[in-house]
């Protein structure tokens, strides 16, 4: 491929008009663990697989879904360390916005600022793009919202989306199952079923993580016990 000559430097376009490093970053995302998000009429749910490299890892110390503000949460597919850095930056930006305007940051603003950070790392010298795609779930004055942010810095608002290993199957499943008037509980069940589709092994509250935000505008991660309850309902 002629493109391979241009894949060494991030800041150089290839003749076909692509930035090859970003393509590689998307490949890194595509080989990460599946995660998905669904926007319901009265809330948003995000979920991810939590497959640990060994049974010896203490799974209660790993939390893939993080909250950025009391009413915005985020999940990722791709490289965990890159995610931690982005979460730290986003939290700081949300807090700075709050200090300046004395209002909680709207979801679109936070997504825009996070995407701007990710874009910076595609146009600076000596850095590489982030190897994560984010799913940002929030509930503010404009209602429930779900955004996906890619390593290039582009973001879109989704009704339902998936990323990572099983993305094509998951998206097909979501397209079939999604309805506009879905409630939050139905959305959680649909999320679990979608994860179950491509899951290797026995699904349980210990190897998936689910975060929800409802009309109370408080993002929270479900406990393993609550996830087991939902799993029992789905059976």
């Amino acid at each position: 491929m002629g493109d391979s000559q241009y894949s060494f430097s991030l800041t150089t376009f290839s003749p076909s008009g692509k930035l090859v490093q970003i393509e590689h970053a998307l490949t890194a995302v595509g080989s990460g663990q599946t995660s998905l998000g669904i926007k319901a009429s009265n809330g948003v749910v995000i979920a991810t697989e939590k497959k640990l490299p060994s049974i010896l890892v203490d799974e209660s110390s790993v939390q893939k879904i993080q909250c950025l503000t009391p009413n915005i949460g985020v999940v990722y597919s791709g490289m965990g360390p890159d995610f931690r850095v982005l979460v730290r930056k986003s939290r700081k930006q949300a807090e700075q916005y709050h200090r300046l305007y004395k209002e909680p940051i709207p979801v679109t603003q936070l997504v825009r600022e996070t995407a701007a950070v990710m874009q910076e790392f595609t146009q600076s010298g000596g850095v590489r793009p982030f190897g994560v795609s984010l799913l940002v779930a929030g509930y503010d004055d404009n209602g429930p919202q779900l955004y996906q942010v890619d390593p290039s810095g582009s973001y879109f608002s989704w009704k339902a989306s998936a990323m990572g290993k099983n993305v094509s199957n998951a998206k097909t499943f979501l397209e079939k199952r999604y309805t506009d008037d879905m409630e939050l509980d139905d959305a959680v069940h649909t999320a679990i079923l979608t994860l179950k589709e491509g899951f290797e092994g026995q699904i349980s509250g210990k190897n998936i993580e689910i975060g929800i935000i409802g009309s109370d505008k408080k993002f929270r991660v479900l406990t393993p016990a609550e996830i087991d309850d939902y799993l029992a309902e789905v059976e």
Binding site: C67, L68, R88, K89, R91, K92, Q93, E95, Q96, Y97, H98, R99, L100, E113, A116, V117, E120, F121, S124, V127
Partner: protein, 273 residues
């Protein structure tokens, strides 16, 4: 390399650029502008289940009361509150900034904030400004290690005490505490004592006045009693209201429409493209 989306003020300590100019103006006899201070009586005490903070509500600009009902008990964290005396802008800005830092710290650690953390962040900031940030604070809260009460002076020194007062009314309030404080007070006794101390400041100190605010913090619970006591109601209001006679009588009304004074004459070439 990565710029913050929101422009922050430049880092570093106080900028001494204008000090020479101020000295020169002062020598020539120009008195600087006065600023809004919270004359203030602020108090805190530790009771059997936690901490009670109290404050008056008068803000002064020199001899003028500029705010009769201001809020001097500032939120720092869900389990930590801070009373501020001194320059109102300084106390508000510094408590706001540390409250923001504590929130970020809570996200990163996943734990409840500790009073000692707020104390250290505040004293670091105040010390680095060498007393120019005129904020005298009474910081109180309940965390996993128990109830704590501290005072912080504008130069950055701190004290840890079972009962504390700050502000211009601090002597009047301390007199009440010294005579009536004992360990193991109940909630009602504690609130009663705090109210007495603040009232003594309100009535005996010109820089303090108006109402009493109280904040009770216990393990896992807080109660912010805004205007818990209003010992200075506005009396002597004329119930009939006030009516003022008309000042000038209209004798005659004449309206003259103004004609168009400007004539537009089109000459010259059109503008070249």
């Amino acid at each position: 390399m990565s710029k913050a989306a929101v422009d922050l003020p430049p880092k570093g300590g106080f900028s001494f650029d204008l000090c020479k100019r101020n000295d020169m103006l002062a020598k020539k006899g120009l008195t600087g502008p006065s600023f809004r201070k919270t004359g203030t009586t602020i108090v805190g005490l530790i009771f059997q289940d936690g901490v009670i903070l109290g404050a008056d509500t008068r803000a002064t600009e020199g001899p003028i009361v500029c705010d009769k009902n201001c809020e001097k008990i500032h939120y720092m964290a869900p389990n930590i509150y801070c009373c501020g005396a001194g320059t109102a802008a300084d106390t508000e800005a510094v408590t706001d900034m540390v409250s923001s830092q504590l929130q970020l710290h809570r996200y990163h650690t996943g734990r409840e904030s500790r009073v000692i953390t707020a104390l250290t962040l505040l004293k670091k900031h105040l010390f680095s400004y060498q007393g120019y940030v005129s904020a005298a604070l009474v910081l109180g809260g309940v965390d996993c290690t128990g109830p704590h009460l501290h005072t912080i002076y504008p130069h950055g020194s701190t004290d840890t005490l079972p009962f504390a007062t700050m502000g211009s009314g601090s002597l009047a309030a301390m007199a009440m505490f010294e005579s009536k404080y004992k360990e193991g007070l109940s909630r009602d006794e504690g609130i009663q004592l705090v109210v007495e101390a603040i009232c003594s400041g309100i009535f005996n100190d010109l820089g303090s006045g108006s109402n009493v605010d109280v904040c009770v913090i216990t393990k896992g619970h807080k109660e912010y009693l805004r205007n818990h006591l209003l010992p200075n109601p506005r009396t002597y209001i004329n119930e009939k209201g006030y009516s003022f006679p008309k000042k000038t009588e209209v004798l005659m009304t004449k309206i003259t429409p103004l004609k168009e004074r400007v004539e537009i004459i089109e000459t010259g070439d059109a503008m070249e493209e």
